[in-house]
Amino acid sequence: MQNIYESSVNSRRKSNYIVAGFSVFALVASYFLASALSYYLFGFYDGLFAIGLALLITGLSSFGSYYYSDKIIVGISGARRADEHEFKLFYQVIDNLSLGSNIHRPALYVIDDTAMNAFAAGRDPDHSLVCSTTGLLANLNRSELEAVFAHELTHIKNYDTRLMSLAAVMVGSITLMADWLLRIGLRSRRGKDSGAGIITLVIGILAALLAPVIGQLLQLAISRSREYMADVGSVKITRQPSSLISALTIIDHDLERLEAANKSTAHLYFTNPFHQDSSFKAEFNRPGLDWFAGLFNTHPPISDRIKALSQMS
């Protein structure tokens, strides 16, 4: 049994380890890829130019999606502004939770769908929004809604959109450099005769093939660790693990697809909208495949989340 402060520290520590590992990986992979790239382009090992260019391209192309993340996600998901009179309970719950967590009330949006899900977006707590499906609002009682939205508000407080955008930029720039290396390096005549050239070629190709995949897996690991942190944060605001457990159990049983979600927005939602984290979806529950398939999951399995919550007093 852990108290809320221990759980908070532990989940944050685990997430920090993964982020640190990701940073080390990003540095090492960028170094090898950029060195190999500059060797083929310029004949010497200086990676700084390649890293800089890749980061610039990825950063610029991602900046818009980070800065306007709230408007973009609303547009993609077909959400509409929640009317204060139509969704009085929604507004009341979010008002109370914002009081309890010392942030300004985020803008509220609604998706008209009977599937039960919610997400939060926005670059910082002052430019954030929470969106819920009408199915979620209709099927959960007040305590369960408090638990789910406290989870979303914790995502906002932890600046998770910012973290995931940074991770996406890093993985994007690594993927870009890997792509360049595979195109340029294999066609270049420079390295094929000398010994050093062969080694650079081999390491470069290995890095170019593995780095994007490893980067994405690490990014997904970060996403899962932030989900655990948000669960702990939810309990910190509401002090009622039972209501979040109850909400997760109800959502676990509902296997309806959320039409508004697609692969690029799946990671934002409260539970995986394709139900890859569900305990009941038969094709994801084959014992041998579980661990490996789990690595590609944006969310931890709901059963694991419930188990972690049951450990909290």
Partner: protein, 186 residues
């Protein structure tokens, strides 16, 4: 990178850290004051809301003397500036039973609204308290840890009292009737 530049950078780093910790303490103090005012704000909201709810529900609850008495007690407490949440939490289950057994009341939006609003005011007072507790905990924790406590001592920051939980009152007393094991006739 000779020794003087390195030393200079270290000193700059320490100064920057000191500034950020000092700013944290000052900001936390302001937020704690604001959250105390917020609790007062929510109690005032409760005090203004209860009489309105009472009059609107009286028409439907003419025969429910104990519920009306509890509502009147809650109003007295909130008029005195105290938190009426304990009276409200006594009241809500009784009201729920009455509503369930009386189909006329069940359909009345007024009663549903009453129950929802009463619960909401108690929740709001609770959450504004929670905010104060968390802010005070973060501030006091930072006061005590090393090396932030050095900055705190240097500028004379003191621990904040936070929420003064009552050390006496009905919720701490156990009456003899609570201790007696109930006898069941089988």
């Amino acid at each position: 990178m000779n020794l003087t530049t390195i030393l200079g950078l270290v000193v700059l780093g320490v100064l920057a850290y000191g500034v950020s910790i000092y700013n944290f303490f000052v900001q936390a103090k302001v937020q704690i004051q604001a959250s105390i005012q917020e609790i007062g704000n929510q109690l005032k909201r409760q005090a203004e809301l209860i009489p309105n709810l009472e009059t609107s529900a009286k028409a439907y609850l003419t025969h429910e003397k104990d519920i009306l008495k509890l509502l009147a007690d809650a109003r007295k407490l909130s008029d005195q500036g105290k938190d009426a949440s304990s009276k409200l939490s006594e009241l809500l289950p009784k009201l729920q039973i009455v509503v369930e057994s009386n189909p006329q009341l069940k359909g009345a939006d007024v009663i549903q609204n009453l129950m929802s609003e009463l619960r909401d005011t108690s929740d709001k007072v609770m959450y504004s308290r929670r905010s104060l507790i968390d802010l005070t905990a973060d501030y006091n924790a930072k006061l005590a840890v090393f090396p932030a406590n050095l900055v705190a001592q240097a500028f004379g920051f003191k621990p904040e009292a936070g929420l003064k939980t009552p050390t006496q009152g009905a919720h701490l007393e156990v009456s003899t009737s609570d201790i007696i094991t109930p006898k069941v006739k089988l």
